[in-house]
Amino acid sequence: MMKQRKLKGYPHTLPTELTIHTAILSKLPGKSLLRCRCVSRLWCSIIDDSQFVSIHFQNFQNNRVRSSLLVLEPPEICDTKQICIIRNSENFRKMSTIKIDVTLFEHHRIVGYINGLFCMKRYVLGSQISKIFLWNPSIRKAMELPLIQMLDPNELRSDIDYTFGYDHVKNDYKVVASFYIGNELYNPTFIEIFSLITFSWKRVNISEGPCQWIKDGPKIFLNGVVYWRGIDALEVTPKGKFSHFVSFDVVNDSFNYIELPDCKHENVCAYERFPIILGELVALIANFQSYSQMWVMEELKGEVPLWSKRCRINLQLLYKCLCFKNDGEILYTGEKAGVNSFNIRNQKTKVLQRVTRFIRFSRVSTWRV
């Protein structure tokens, strides 16, 4: 009964049809949309419309699988394609694959990955200044950011550390460039903040904080704030050298310092600490000679953090760690290059996926999608 007729044509496009076509298109992946621009003039204009772009993005935000992971795997020998795979972190199954020319990664380094967008830097020969790109692999479009204006020739020789963040209030992407000039290894002389909305850099001076910054270290981005490590280079305090996390609030363009807890084991301080994301919370891994502690920042009252110690982690596990999951599971590369998960709560190990080809641990990088 239902299959009595082929869809009869649209003699002219009714408003309802336009609404429905727009709604269907807004649920298509980027690659299909690029093809659909070819269907007709009307479809092409729908897809190119800026309002459509934001609806499409909203759908992507609502529908993305919260537990998915972007895994950057090294190319196979003789293969010229690097492989970006979106995997489900529950079972590590492949959800989608993007192949990228290896050369891209030879000359570029990833600064960050947010909302399907890579921020990458490319070194410019004979200069410390890098070119910064935003790159959307699903439509294969890259955008180069304007170069930072240097006021002084000294600045050209500075070391620059980049950070990528997303302002969910204004729907803006920001890049922070911290300039370390001369012997100032730990204190940036000034900061430049790029906003995609204004498409320009803005210079900001920063006042001295309770600790100095560590450039090029691990950074995490969570709910509009970027966190990285601070170091107390002058004094070796009982807290050890890593005394704070430095945070940058992407929404307000403000910097903050978060004091870390005393992580000690038999009166010995942790020799290394770094930030990780545990579900929707900022956490800290503190490494000792024989094992690691995981601390979670339960809340932040003004500038005062409330830290709680969660568990111990085997160091071997940490070296092979791919990511920390919301539910207290750690994904790591197991024997024979498979992927296992370890549940901190019940201390159980699960084999998620046996990978047929050998993946070198050090070259696999993961991001939360």
Partner: protein, 164 residues
Amino acid sequence: MASSSSSSLSRVVVKSSDNNLFVVNKKVASQSQLLKQCIDNMEEKGTNDVILIPLSNVTSNILTLVLEYCEKHADFADDDNNNQELKQWDHEFLKKFDYATLNSLTMAADYMVTKSLLNLCCQFIADSIKDLTVQQIRQIFDIKNDFTPQEEADIKNENAWAFR
């Protein structure tokens, strides 16, 4: 669930474009914002009579399907859209139809303001056309290609990789 007081309606009659009548229980009808609005308006006026709502844009075939969907979903709470059983049912429900029926169903969902059905249909159609060629998509939606061959080639070349 709101308990039905003596003054409120428990059922409405909906008339399709081909003049068939459907008696629909209020809870089921409320899945459609259009029907719910009609019911609310009548209740405000204090009418006790069974009301007749004519839907000039929806045929009996399609109305039957919309009501089947509303009946199923009336059993679940509004925030229960992630319920696995319901999701499975939705998928099985839409799987049976050809594009023509899906299209009419989508239009009816839009007209009757049944947002979850509209969303579901659009997602289902999107999923089923995402790997099709441009020509196949034109056929399904019966869209005439109004590009010149040169224009079409230019658009293709802009993102040639997407057509491989």
